[in-house]
């Protein structure tokens, strides 16, 4: 991020100029992602048509024509880019007559819901735990929280996912409850998966929040606030918390990326029919169009999220002007 102090007004809407500039670089980034995906895909030995079923040359030729595989690579690339610009990702190879757009439309909302729940859990939990640890610095609760943070960061997410499933089963057995272990048919199915998914980000945000609060402990404006005679609670709510939250906002973009890709494993273990699960399956089956579609979609989504967070940051912290 490149912000300098606001010295001159170039336009009357500085943030708009910044947003447009970022959007243009975002579009270039998405083009790069699409290109990398396309050529990465075509490096893979074999293609989706070389399946176990024997195919007569004529049928193969027809199929290749249908999917445009008979054209030279660069022509295919051109068509691919043109279709992406139109927002059309083509037809799946393995699920006949299913458009990739439909797959994304059906399964992304589930992933997004899972991700949003995880993000809410991680952000609120991280801010609360970090603030708690900072206000109880060097006390037992602080040490316990920081120890938990280190442990959570060191244990792979899939272990938590597996253990939580085991835990739910034991609870169901012990209390004769019927809490869902896997699958997706109601919101309650997403409670445990989103907690598991958010744990890593929670730990990271806790650490960030704590160090950010401790950093501003000796800031001038805190001393001024104390000198004015504000109560500790007032100082904490009005001055410390709001300033300490700023670094947390900046990492929300990368946090979204972390949660999105972390969702693959959680979706697989908990059998949630989200887009991540589809992507992994598509890679296993070499389903070109689904892979390219999901990769470009995810990439674009993440690029836009980061841009959005950066713009948001300029809005949250008026001291920082986004104009270059």
């Amino acid at each position: 991020m490149s912000e300098t102090l606001h010295t001159q007004k170039t336009t009357s809407y500085p943030w708009l100029a910044y947003a447009i500039k970022r959007l243009i670089s975002g579009v270039i980034a998405i083009w790069f992602i699409a290109t990398a995906t396309f050529f990465g895909m075509h490096l893979i030995p074999g293609d989706p048509l070389s399946s176990e079923k024997k195919m007569s040359p004529q049928i193969r030729k027809n199929l290749e024509a249908r999917y445009g595989l008979d054209k030279p690579l660069l022509t295919q690339y051109g068509i691919f880019l043109k279709n992406i610009a139109k927002g059309d990702f083509g037809i799946s190879f393995t699920q006949e007559n299913r458009r990739v757009n439909d797959i994304i439309r059906e399964h992304f909302p589930i992933s997004a819901l899972l991700g949003v729940l995880a993000l809410i859990f991680a952000t609120l939990g991280g801010i609360f735990l970090g603030a708690f640890a900072a206000t109880h610095k060097n006390q037992l609760s602080d040490h316990v929280i920081m120890l938990m943070v280190i442990l959570v960061v060191s244990v792979p997410g899939f272990v938590f996912a597996a253990l939580s499933q085991l835990g739910i089963m034991k609870i169901n057995d012990a209390f004769n409850t019927d809490f869902p272990i896997a699958g997706f048919s109601s919101l309650s199915h997403l409670v445990v998966p989103s907690i598991v998914l958010g744990l890593g980000t929670l730990a990271y945000l806790t650490r960030l929040m704590r160090s950010s609060l401790l950093d501003i402990e000796s800031a001038d404006y805190i001393r001024t606030a104390k000198a004015k005679g504000l109560s500790n609670a007032q100082i904490f709510a009005k001055h410390k918390l709001r300033n300490a939250l700023l670094p947390v906002v900046t990492v929300l973009g990368p946090a979204v990326a972390g949660i999105t890709t972390g969702g693959f494993v959680v979706e697989m273990i908990f059998a949630i029919p989200g887009l991540g699960k589809y992507f992994v399956e598509a890679v296993q089956q070499l389903d070109y169009t689904v892979i390219m579609g999901t990769a470009v979609f995810y990439g674009g989504f993440l690029v836009l999220t980061v841009i959005l967070v950066d713009i948001l940051y300029g809005w949250v912290d008026p001291r920082i002007q986004v104009v270059k």
Partner: protein
């Protein structure tokens, strides 16, 4: 960076050894002087005051020893399948009964006597022979008018007819009143239940018997495993022998978990250490050149870096891993290494470039340039020594995330190809048996966690010791 350090030093005196203040030999006693210490000595003395970093360093050394000479000490073949001990929990001193290879079992056929009816107790059911982990046989009193029997197995006492456990099979004909079970038996208590079937359907009555399976090994298996000598094997029939020890248990194919963890450590640490070494080096080169050149070239080089960083990491990790392909008989380690390197060097490049840009403006570098230092001199004498701390810290943090990535990919089945073990693929194997044999997930997960924890704590310690400012970023 360096000037910052020295200025900080004048503000708050560092902790010093008393010995350093002792009078110097051959000097006048009133001069108190401490020996000058260079950057590395300073960093190391600071690291020594950090117990968690030191313990982590010891753990890492232990892990390296475990990986390198583990298979010389624990010589069990990680690919050997011991089918007599499948998914067995950690054991050192397990005994088993030697039984004949052929199971002596004759189905019992007994016509029903009119007066007998079934009760919900074990009365009427009895065991045939000794129940062992090889097979369990039992028989029961025929039920009047029954057309057949359904046989169930459970691991605890059934409370209700709907809760009899695994349906093992069905005997047709009311006079077939015995059953032989050889389905994945383990040395635990089993509760076998039977339900008679009548013309009008299943009976509402059932009968249960509790049988405890004893560890047993067929004679020929014992000979094959080399536990008993072949020429006097019949002497051992019906006696107890010690089975091969498996200190961390075995997996679902009866392979020794400790041996597989040692073998898996080679894969995981190979990828986890080699990939960061290479991409930190590449990132250093690229970032260094970019920062050194500056201007337009720097802008273009960094724009390229920005694009690669924008790629969703794990998504492209999977994609590239598949794109590099796996030939028959290959382990899939190389594609994973390549994918990791391709996607990871840009963040190092960005870090180093920022550092070099800062260094370039330092007065001592300007002075050196003014005095006619060439590029090599500047790089080797001034730039490189000033980024080594940063590089070391980056490397230490890159290792655990590479280990994590390997584990993640192997876990979703996109990593190393079976039968090559890695800690991630061992976790993947273990998760399927989590409910019945948690040790198969627990140990590999423990190794990953301890390794990652050790590298993270050491990285924290090194960061403090070298006083490196890093922008933490998360994927």
């Amino acid at each position: 960076m360096t000037t910052k350090q020295t200025s900080a030093k004048t503000l708050e005196p560092p902790k010093m050894d008393e010995k350093e203040f002792l009078p110097y030999k051959g000097r006048t006693p009133d001069i108190i002087q401490r020996p000058s210490r260079n950057y590395w000595q300073q960093a190391f003395s600071k690291l020594k005051t950090n117990p968690s970093a030191l313990i982590s360093l010891l753990i890492i050394i232990a892990l390296v020893v475990f990986t390198l000479i583990g298979d010389k000490i624990w010589t069990v073949d990680p690919y050997d399948q011991d089918l007599t001990q499948i998914s067995s929990p950690p054991s050192f001193n397990k005994k088993a009964l030697v039984i004949p290879d052929k199971i002596h079992y004759q189905p019992i056929i007994q016509p029903s006597k009119e007066e007998y009816t079934l009760k919900t107790t074990s009365s009427g059911m009895s065991v045939i022979g000794t129940p062992t982990t090889q097979f369990i046989a039992f028989k029961w009193q025929p039920v009047a008018g029954a057309k057949g029997y359904q046989i169930f197995r459970h691991e605890y006492l059934p409370q209700h007819i709907d809760d009899l456990g695994v349906p093992l099979g069905e005997n047709e004909g009311g006079e077939h009143v015995s059953y032989l079970d050889a389905l994945r038996l383990e040395p635990i208590d089993y509760f076998y239940s039977i339900i008679p079937i009548f013309d009008e359907g299943q009976s509402t009555q059932y009968s249960t018997i509790k049988l405890t399976a004893m560890d047993a090994i067929p004679l020929s298996d014992a000979v094959e495993l080399g536990i008993i000598p072949i020429h006097q094997k019949t002497n051992y029939l019906g006696k107890f022998i010690h089975l091969p020890a498996h200190p961390l248990g075995t997996d679902y194919l009866g392979r020794d978990l400790l041996a597989r963890l040692i073998e898996g450590a080679k894969t995981s640490l190979f990828i986890g250490v080699l990939a960061p070494l290479i991409f930190v080096f590449l990132g250093m080169l690229y970032g260094g050149i970019s920062g050194f050149l500056g201007g337009k070239a720097d802008e273009i080089m960094m724009r390229f870096v920005d694009f690669i960083i924008a790629l969703p990491f794990l998504l492209f990790m999977i994609l590239f891993k598949v794109a590099f392909g796996i030939g028959p008989g290959e382990s899939g380690i190389f594609p994973m290494l390549m994918a990791l390197i391709l996607l990871s060097w840009p963040s190092v490049a960005r870090l180093i470039r920022g550092q070099v840009l800062q260094l370039k403006e330092m007065p001592y570098i300007q002075a050196s340039k003014l005095m006619g230092a060439n590029v090599f001199h500047l790089t080797l004498k001034h730039m490189l020594p000033n980024v080594t701390g940063l590089l070391l810290v980056t490397l230490t943090f890159a290792i655990p995330s590479a280990i994590f990535t390997e584990a993640f990919l192997s876990f979703i089945g996109m990593g190393v190809v079976p039968p090559t073990p890695s800690w991630g693929s061992l976790c993947n194997d273990g998760i399927h048996t989590l409910l019945t044999h948690p040790h198969e997930l627990f140990f590999p997960a423990l190794f990953i966690s301890v390794t990652v924890l050790a590298f993270n704590l050491l990285g924290d310690g090194l960061r403090d010791a070298f006083d490196v400012k890093m922008k933490e970023d998360q994927r």
